[in-house]
Point group: C2
Chain length 231, copies 2
DNA sequence: AAGCATTGTAATCGATGCTTACATTCACGA
DNA sequence: TCGTGAATGTAAGCATCGATTACAATGCTT
């Protein structure tokens, strides 16, 4: 049903060398896969990359892993659970990218840090649109456990919150209502990312997207900055 | 497939009075429906309201219209085409709401008009989250015709653009780069709407959402306003 | 080595999107 | 008025999907 055309990939031929923990490999493929869960998540992750969340099907993941259509249900209660695992993985990578950007930012300048983080955020989103989309829909996993995604996400939020607080303490922010500045900042960045992803900027290249991203961030910073000579 | 549980609604019993254009009604339901296309769009529209775009199935729409599962394909080439029609309808109502808000705004004050339009935007989005989501994904219809949605949407964009230009001409905006202000404004409003819809504000009521929406809009306006005494 | 829990397979169910062949009705011209 | 073609409905069927159940193979613990 509304399936992406079958890529007919990875014929299920020779078994890949299994993870440590498997013993003998008497014939072609051993009965037990070795690390099926991880392989399924990887397959689903790739499917998201190829066609978005809608292109993820349990059966295709099983096909790519070389197992029967029912096997995945030993590891995931439902298709949504599989997608949640993909979201967890994507969130992990996203978080890592943000952390890396923050490390490379100038240590003493919170506003510049904010800019770097925001830019890394937008770059990752625009270069991994489908995975960003999977991360974004809280509806998928927020209510049924899966604390990892939420915690990683809360980490990113808390990180920007800390940065903005530092900037405020340093007298670089002109308004006092920090809470709303934070929400506005999140909304601005999130909204720009989703606009790019949702196709609101037709015929834009990545270059345009990232250049405008910088401009938007600068505009935001000048909007919240303590008044001085403006642009 | 990942279907919402069948609501078993509207048993297909007595035919509703058909649109003008149908002639005799010899037995229970006439062979031709009369206005199937419209009824299908209405059914799909309701399905979107009940469970989001994912809950829309051609067969369920046919069921609710009281026709065979294949009948809808006489009017829509695919499920996506049906969804596009729903998006068109939703966009129409959204646009009407925006226009209404603009009429009620003070005539001479562009910034205030911007605030009113933005608030109406956010209110509609938060009260019709699933329909807003359907409108938002340009991917669904932007590339295959369906100019109505795009044109209505461009109308809203152009409307805000005009308002901001008036504000700029009136000297109420402090920065000169109007284009980026427009994008930032769109991103901010869109982002806030999607955050609310995507569940980034757990345990918020509509009241919280709309109150914060006002605050966000005010913050944006004060951020782009010509410098004076700030909050 | 025995036995139990884990993890895979086979077969199946109900649902879906979509197509093809056929049936019915409408609209319009002779 | 009466046909006849176009429009619009139905029936049946295909391939795919998520999910469940019964069964088989394996790994681990004792």
């Amino acid at each position: 049903m509304r399936r992406v055309p079958r890529p007919s990939g990875s014929k299920r031929g020779q078994a890949k060398p299994r993870a440590p923990g498997a013993r003998r490999a008497p014939a072609g493929r051993p009965y037990h896969h070795g690390d099926l869960r991880r392989v399924l998540v990887e397959a689903a992750f790739e499917l998201v990359g190829e066609g978005g969340a809608e292109a993820v099907s349990v059966r295709e993941a099983a096909r790519r892993a070389g197992v029967s259509p029912a096997a995945p249900f030993r590891h995931f209660a439902s298709r949504d659970a599989l997608l949640a695992a993909v979201a967890e993985e994507a969130q992990r990578r996203f978080r890592a990218e943000i952390d890396r950007a923050l490390e490379q930012a100038p240590a003493g300048d919170p506003l510049q840090q904010f800019r770097c983080v925001g830019l890394a955020y937008l770059r990752w989103a625009m270069r991994n649109p489908t995975h960003f989309e999977v991360i974004s829909s809280r509806r998928l996993f927020d209510h049924d456990g899966s604390a990892a995604v939420s915690s990683d996400n809360a980490g990113v939020i808390g990180l920007t919150e800390r940065i903005l607080q530092e900037a405020h303490a340093g007298g670089q922010i002109g308004t006092s209502d920090l809470k709303q500045v934070l929400i506005a900042g999140r909304a601005l960045v999130y909204g720009y990312a989703r606009m790019a992803i949702d196709g609101h900027f037709p015929r834009w290249g990545v270059a345009d997207g990232e250049a405008t991203a910088e401009a938007i961030l600068d505009l935001f910073m000048s909007g919240i900055a303590r008044r001085s000579g403006h642009s």
